[in-house]
Symmetry: C3
Subunit: 457 residues, 3 copies
């Protein structure tokens, strides 16, 4: 059955209405914070800050740029592996991330940074990082739906995804006072279950009609390696970007670097053992090698020790690759979940591992290892939670994991229901995994007349 | 008519002569500045600088590297979209940028950094950033000529482009004392009109003979997205790289980040509305999404407010996409300007918008918003211009815009005339957009014998 | 003769055994250093460090990330140029780098950072950079063997390569007290001769059977430009990453930036002069443009002056391009060394040039140029070498170059002999340069059944 994929009204309408709404809401709510405002010089004098370098910009900006690259090039190019959906992968990723970061600045601002005096949200570089983080969860969810949805559906997915994320994050970080610097729970677990549930609601029984487009060609797989490598290389920045100044950021980088290195080796091992002649499967190399970074998200700031990080990467690489081998086919056949990029293997399972590792590491923290001040600083045992013990902290960490899963499942079911409405221009089964229905190629001059002739030569 | 594209004498001659000239001129004029010289430790003691971190290197280096990526990968890969000119795009970009940064260090040094005592130019990381900026204007100009000129012509274009840039920049920044941290006027407006005028002088009435090469293929369009995304992601670094330490850099990043996000949404909207079925045109996605960054260049340091930045991005995305739809074909047919990459839409118009926004924002600045010290710091109302008011500053900003346009037009006409001489090896109309006439593919071993056989399989 | 390339047992076995060994050895030896440990706050108080910014993390992290990109994307994509070995290039590079950095942390730790009190190695961000550096030498060696070895052989090559590197580095930096911030000798010269000797031992007389696969196709050459450009752009970070804080890092960046720019122009010149019609050879553009960075490795911290840097780049670009034109074919025919990527031209010769330049520059250093303190700081004339003169330093620099070459030759011969054993799954001559024997393409869903059908369409 042919579906109507004409989005000539709906996509521009959504883009314009939402962008205008952003402008109005930013006008009402968003202002520069004291470190990005021209009054910084007075602020410095008042707080006796000796140098401009103490501006948070210099602590955070290099990490911010790395995270930014992960969001747009990392996630974008990781989704270029399909032979006829490379543009769809990187292009729609670009669209929804650019929208999502604006909405995230507002949603996260309302929950975390609303000034009680003037009801404004004051933003600085840390807010930009957090907005990128928030959007990451929606891009993960996109991975499950890649090739099967229209850009309008993705905009809706992102609008609700960011909204749900902000609430979930508020509960986990503020109410439960759980720690999650790299977002194993908040970003990866939530995002993955959100996407998987949406994909389950949108199940397409006849998707095999576009089976011939579900694979890669040689060069599309090389493009995907660009995404893989930029995610892999910059993951230490992801997990340390909003960690504590000083030893916190430093330690998060070391732990993540090691976990990632370890998961590369176990991924290659399991991938090789699973094929005739020990051939490596590019889909494993592209994805499961990143599992160590996901699994190190929660505990990256903790004193998990270097060998502890290696163990986390070791296990998550194995689990993730086995997921691609056995769980993805099982989920499609039995659970009716079509997971294009295998986000269950790359984000859901390693994210849960990360949450569990975080809970255990927190519960087993001690003053003898952390030092008295170190323990307080690392877990922020101050103010309302000044008397919390590490055991209780471990319990709250575990609770946070369930909150993330629950938000993903319930939120995904709701949003999946909305996306099932036949008004969003989603493609017919036979047109899935072909971005031709949404995109035309570039021509600088006279771009209309010769399109037909030269398309996809 | 077959043209002689043999550059076996001219290209090596130009490269050698100019590189040797650079060595001699550097020998005479260029030295390390006090922050990159081994006497830094004595300088520190004398100036009572407490830590090595106060070396400007730590303020600027991360931004410098981001700008460097924009120049070589950003501009380079943005020009890979043509099906048979991907090497020509990225390779010649590499050549002229590498030459241009050397010449820029000299030209900018003579105008801005010549030490009055010893007649030496003292360079540090900020000079490297400025050299990259200067070269950007020539790479923009290359965009209009892509596929239609020889590498020797590009070297000439760059030699004169850098020279003109340095004079124009001196007039705008030093004489008019206009502010232009991200170079909307100095870099983008000048570079675009410089390139467009050259393209007008070099008009090829029979260019349609190579029409079949003027489009993209699927993978060349994906390569171009690498350029787009690295430009888009690092543009906040571009606009903040030489902004004031502290709040200046911080604010420039926030403003640019927001303007870019906003222009993505309006670009997608206009692109979709312009095609049957709402399909997106890759050339818009690759280019117009960047218009927000260009348009935020001048005002990035100012207190334009976050929603102001969104509005700037909103408008420039629309204007730029409309340019690709209507203005580029119009300019080619009526004005005889063949603009391969559409730099009029991506750089000229958003650059002019940026200049106007800068003038308005400067003229409407106030002590109540900026604070007394903030106003002085932001606009550098010191020394000779200590008594300048914001209204007068606005006037000078507007004047600067006209200077940039005038330099582009007049300089482009002159250099275009030089490039029209039949000695530079430019290709015949039928050979345009095919880098085959200038480049052979890689073979590691025995690279000559089998070239014919395997070329461009 | 068909060879057995089944690595279904050997590759997983090597990965698992070595990764488990890493975990055990890290458990015994590796701990956080005082700047990445939660006791940092106490350390700060004890040492009277006023701000978190004095944590070495903020001096080194941006450079570390740039180096990290060079190792994984730079070296990886530089090796994608072969038409049928793009995955093999980038994928195996990924595997061996991820293993190598772990082993390097141990090896370098034992030699340089072993705490005498508790026999632990304390790691921080500088160790991560050094591990990346160490791995670079093995990736260089891989370049000579590209397409002719199995991943198991590469793991063995890396295990021994890292081991040899750590010893060689110890002799050069600690015993000889030579300076080599960017590793012209320690990394490039050693790595290149190590790889070339291995390639000599593994000489394949019938390699011409796979001659039809030894070239590039259009898009694989564009992929290789990604590698080239990220190496080129970030090389200033490579040469400055572990230089002295302050002026040392600052000066290393300027010197490297200039040398690289200069070698681009001479590479284009020589490449153009060598072909009919002055066409450029992509293999030169991809490789010889980087020679300036290699040759500036040793002297990057010294007061070589900006024009001195240009001269170094000028010469190394010429030498490297001539190497590709004449030396690589000569070496294959006469010396029986098959050097797939031409590492002799990109790393060996420029590395030797770098070592010589370093020796001369050191020997000609003077207090009048460096200042008294500057001279001591730059060459670390402290403790055991407090009385060393610059002339003697120059002699030790020259000695270091011979150590690097000797380690490369002897180590390569030994390891080549090990790799010649017929147990590692190396491909037959006819299967060289085709990664099809080790890798299958990506399929997200049902990835086994349709592989045959869609492979490499």
């Amino acid at each position: 059955m042919a579906k109507n994929t004409n989005i000539r009204i709906s996509l521009p309408a959504v883009c314009f209405v939402w962008q205008i709404a952003m402008i109005i809401l930013f006008g009402v709510f968003i202002r520069y914070d004291e470190e990005s405002d021209t009054h910084w010089i007075e602020h410095r004098r008042k707080k006796n800050i000796s140098t401009n370098l103490e501006n948070d910009f210099y602590y955070r900006y290099p990490s911010f740029q790395d995270v930014h690259v992960m969001i747009f090039v990392g996630f974008g190019f990781l989704m270029t592996f399909l032979k006829r959906y490379s543009f769809g992968g990187v292009g729609f990723n670009f669209l929804i991330a650019a929208f999502g970061i604006q909405w995230a600045l507002l949603m996260q601002g309302w929950f975390h940074h609303l000034d009680e005096h003037d009801w404004k949200i004051k933003i600085g570089v840390e807010n930009l990082i957090n907005a990128d983080f928030c959007v990451a969860s929606c891009l993960i969810a996109y991975g499950a739906c890649l090739g099967k949805v229209s850009p309008v559906q993705l905009m809706v997915l992102t609008l609700f995804g960011v909204t749900l994320f902000a609430v979930e994050e508020y509960i986990i970080l503020e109410l439960l006072h759980a720690k999650d610097a790299g977002g194993s729970m908040v970003i990866h677990t939530f995002g993955a279950y959100y996407g998987l549930t949406i994909s389950w609601v949108l199940y397409r029984p006849l998707l095999s009609q576009s089976k011939h487009l579900q694979g890669s060609v040689y060069h599309s797989d090389v493009f995907a390696m660009i995404g893989t490598l930029f995610l892999w290389m910059y993951w230490p920045s992801f997990n340390s970007a909003i960690a504590d100044h000083g030893d916190g950021q430093h330690r998060a980088v070391i732990n993540t670097y090691l976990a990632l290195a370890s998961s590369v080796l176990t991924t290659f091992a399991i991938s090789s053992i699973s094929q005739n002649n020990g051939k490596l499967d590019m889909v494993h190399i592209q994805n499961a090698t990143l599992a160590g970074g996901v699994a190190m998200g929660t505990a990256s700031e903790f004193m998990i020790t270097p060998y502890g990080s290696l163990i986390v990467g070791f296990c998550s690489g194995i689990v993730s690759t086995f997921g691609y081998l056995f769980l993805t086919p099982f989920m499609e056949k039995t659970l009716k979940i079509q997971d294009t990029c295998g986000i269950h293997n790359l984000h859901a399972m390693p994210g849960v591992i990360g949450g569990i590792v975080g809970a255990i590491t927190a519960a087993s923290a001690s003053e003898s290892v952390y030092g008295q001040e170190g323990l307080i600083n690392t877990f922020d045992f101050k103010d309302a939670v000044a008397n919390r013990t590490v055991n209780i902290q471990g319990g709250y960490q575990a609770a946070a994991l369930f909150v993330a899963i629950a938000f993903g499942l319930v939120g995904g079911a709701l949003v999946g229901g909305i996306l099932k409405l036949p008004i969003w221009g989603d493609p017919a089964d036979v047109n899935c995994f072909d971005d031709d229905i949404f995109i035309v190629l570039s021509f600088c001059i006279n771009n209309v007349s010769t399109i037909k002739k030269w398309k996809k030569i």
